[in-house]
């Protein structure tokens, strides 16, 4: 347990085995562990909006499982393209470091989310408004994403200095990850859990497309 806590501290400070340029042995496993543990922790808190009501506790386990699932499956889907495009750009030798950097960004995102979990819990205590809870969580994810940038820049910085093409690769990763991640998030709904809807791992209408919904909304808004 102490070892795990030490690893988190080292990771956040970028020291020890997580220092830039340190031996990568065993780091990926730890990063994956951070994503699973802290993703689960924030997911459970996120679902506590309705999950603490009698008979709805399993909602917290569902969402706890879904947060790491959202991050890891999205990464897995984007990985082949990221690998091939990096290779074509002549950056294959650095791919291990690039992969470590994007995983580290996600690990930092989940740690930051877990650190913000008490704030989310306070928000839930303060308001029974479901829409406000959704908006608040969007805010928490945004703050955590900004925090993740610190780690991403730490690990990607030396790569970009080595070759500016890494900057384009990072942009490619962000674009692809966001594109797939938005749809993955849509498919894996609900994350917070509407108190008036029954508990479910997937919504009955989950197999939809977020972009089609947005396009139809835009189309409707543009109609005279």
């Amino acid at each position: 347990m102490t070892g795990f806590a030490t690893a988190i501290d080292e990771f956040l400070r970028g020291q020890g085995r997580f220092a830039v340029g340190a031996e990568p042995f065993g780091r990926t496993r730890r990063l994956l562990a951070f994503i699973v543990v802290f993703g689960f922790a924030y997911g459970a808190v996120m679902a506590s909006f309705s999950g603490l009501a009698p008979g709805r506790c399993h909602q917290m386990f569902y969402v706890g499982a879904k947060v790491p699932l959202l991050l890891l499956v999205t990464s897995l889907l984007c990985l082949p393209s990221f690998f091939i495009v990096n290779t074509v750009a002549g950056l294959r030798e650095d791919f291990g470091e690039a992969l470590h950097a994007v995983l580290a960004g996600q690990a930092c995102l989940t740690i930051a989310l877990a650190a913000l979990a008490p704030v989310t819990a306070l928000c839930y205590v303060s308001t029974p408004n479901y829409s406000l809870a959704v908006l608040f969580n969007a805010g928490m994810f945004t703050v955590a994403a900004v925090a993740a940038q610190v780690v991403m820049r730490r690990y990607y910085g030396p790569l970009i200095r080595r070759s500016p093409r890494h900057g384009a690769m990072l942009f490619f990763w962000f674009f692809l990850y966001a594109f797939v991640g938005i749809e993955m998030g849509w498919v894996l709904r609900p994350f917070i859990g509407d108190p008036n809807a029954p508990v479910a791992f997937f919504r009955p209408d989950a197999w939809g497309n977020a972009y089609v919904v947005v396009a139809k909304l835009v189309g409707r808004a543009l109609q005279p």
Partner: protein
């Protein structure tokens, strides 16, 4: 690692496009294995494209698997077949000095790179297919992925041309490469670069102009070979009716997606 995979890896890493490798000519860019790889990669993506038609049609149109798996590689090679003669003619007219065979090898390599990028998008296409019933969305997603793959292939091709220039400056072209690269009629014993100094700029401009032709032919070829995905409301067909064009269809798909 199997030999073909190692070849693909070398190509994607750019090892085959290094000036040192190109100084010996383009013989190492073997057309046969590259065509085989391109077909395989095209089949992988084609199968993922056809998944939409299988999942959304009642009864499922399994023929679409075969149709799309054949059509994706065919799109790239038929486009090459249609546009390559014009490249050869313009090339000869501008005295670009890149022999037809060498040009073909370089272009087929770029096709392999494009298809490798396209195949790497296959998991994402499959994921969206599983979660989406909107045909216009799938159409636009595939247009985007094909466009991205084509752009990466284009970048690879232009880089290869730059490396050929560098290979010329290395001045290490062997006699064997000379025989292959130099077009008939050049005086014996002269320096035999892929592009001569005089023809270098003309050759590059020609290639850039030809790429526009290639892109336009590819877009129209995709339209001629449609359907690749297969609309859920329509019965399976190998080829769509003649008429229309891909550009207006894309605009129409955007409108349809927005429900207008």
């Amino acid at each position: 690692m199997p030999t073909w995979l190692r070849e693909l890896d070398d190509l994607l890493r750019g090892r085959k496009g290094r000036p040192e490798a190109l100084a010996e000519g383009t013989g190492h860019l073997r057309i046969g294995p590259h065509v085989g790889m391109a077909v395989l990669l095209g089949i992988i993506y084609g199968l993922c494209m056809a998944l939409y038609s299988v999942l959304n049609r009642t009864p499922p149109a399994y023929e679409q698997f075969l149709s799309s798996a054949l059509k994706v590689p065919a799109l790239f090679f038929l486009t090459l077949l249609v546009s390559f003669p014009s490249l050869y003619v313009f090339s000869a007219l501008t005295d670009a000095q890149l022999s037809p065979l060498a040009a073909l090898r370089v272009i087929v390599s770029a096709v392999v790179v494009s298809l490798a990028v396209l195949a790497s998008f296959a998991p994402i296409t499959a994921f969206f297919t599983l979660t989406t019933s909107s045909y216009p969305f799938m159409k636009l997603l595939n247009v985007f992925f094909f466009g991205t793959a084509a752009c990466v292939g284009l970048g690879f091709l232009l880089n290869m041309l730059r490396q050929l220039d560098r290979a010329r400056t290395l001045g290490a072209t062997s006699q064997a490469a000379r025989a292959e690269e130099v077009t008939a009629g050049r005086r014996a014993g002269a320096d035999p670069p892929p592009f001569t100094t005089a023809g270098k700029d003309a050759g590059r401009k020609l290639f850039q102009a030809w790429l526009v032709v290639y892109a336009l032919v590819a877009a129209q070829m995709a339209w001629v070979l449609r359907p690749f995905i297969g609309a859920s409301k329509l019965p399976f067909e190998w080829f769509g009716q003649r008429g229309g064009n891909g550009f207006t269809d894309v605009l129409h798909a955007i409108g349809e997606l927005m429900g207008t």
